[in-house]
């Protein structure tokens, strides 16, 4: 048993935890919209959900987020420009438009969804509705 917090082991634990939910049918195939970009990971944290969306190279002004009922739509465009007269050696990054909608299988409070964008990573904080939060049931 390793004691103390070893950051590299902590990262490996995170990677394994992520792997376990790869085949998760939590969204039951209910991501709609075109394409598979951007990729989305969804986490649970106490009474809310946290969605992390990777959008490297997309500027904040080119991202549009809409929340309605249990659906959150992330759309926008990614542009890449090369300096005129440059000779291109390698081109792996891709540009284009994206539009994805995730529909949460639980009731969420669409009015209180918060978004933050930093270092190419979009964080969506999605609170559950009061009525949908799990309650502790006392045995009478």
């Amino acid at each position: 048993m390793v004691t103390g917090v070893d950051p590299l082991h902590a990262l490996h634990s995170l990677q394994r935890a992520l792997e376990r939910s790869y085949d998760s049918d939590w969204l039951r195939g209910s991501t709609t919209g075109m394409g598979t970009f951007p990729p989305i990971n969804i986490f649970q944290q106490a009474d809310r959900f946290v969605a992390l969306v990777e959008l490297p190279g997309v500027s904040k002004d080119d991202i549009e987020i809409q929340a309605k009922d249990s659906s959150i739509r992330v759309s926008g465009k990614k542009t890449i420009s090369f300096q005129a007269g440059a000779s291109v050696h390698r081109r792996e990054r891709i540009s284009g438009v994206f539009d994805r909608t995730i529909t949460m299988p639980v009731e969420v409070d669409a009015d209180r969804v918060k978004a933050d964008y930093k270092d190419g990573l979009l964080t969506l904080l999605i609170p559950r509705t009061e009525s949908d939060k799990p309650r502790t049931v006392k045995i009478s």
């Binding site: 790869y22 986490f43 490297p56 890449i80 891709i94 438009v97 994206f98």
Partner: protein, 132 residues
């Protein structure tokens, strides 16, 4: 070009010659490389990496880049639905141009690292007069 619909690019795992002592996986950032008259430009996509967590090294004509994510923010989060793996980024390139090492500069915008590698004077073509 912006009307094209974007498809996800699966992250490629870094394959190392030596096995690490810890099993955490690292990934290869997608890259664009282009050359201008003055410099070689390298752009690397490393979402989630802050600029203070990037190391850039040029040694023996090899460019080494490492970007570390801050995974402490994942503490207390339990994954329930996953579409992409998370890990540090690492990639190396052999440089065919001579580079002015002390003039290398870099910036980070929206998770994209942009490295400017200015070409060395001797790498630019020179006219040589025949003496004598």
């Amino acid at each position: 070009m912006t009307s094209e619909e974007l498809q996800v690019q699966q992250k490629r795992e870094l394959q190392q010659k030596q096995e690490g002592t810890v099993p955490a996986r690292a990934f290869i950032p997608s890259a664009d490389i282009y050359e201008t008259e003055q410099a070689l430009m390298v752009l690397l996509e490393m979402p989630g990496v802050e600029k203070s967590n990037v190391d850039i090294n040029v040694e023996d004509d090899v460019l080494d880049v490492e970007g570390r994510i801050d995974f402490s923010k994942y503490q207390g989060l339990s994954p329930i639905y996953t579409e992409y793996p998370v890990g540090h980024y690492r990639r190396s390139f052999s440089l065919s141009n001579r580079i002015e090492q002390h003039k290398i500069s870099a910036e980070m915008t929206d998770g994209v690292l942009i490295i400017t590698l200015p070409k060395a004077e001797e790498a630019k073509p020179r006219r040589i007069a025949i003496g004598g």
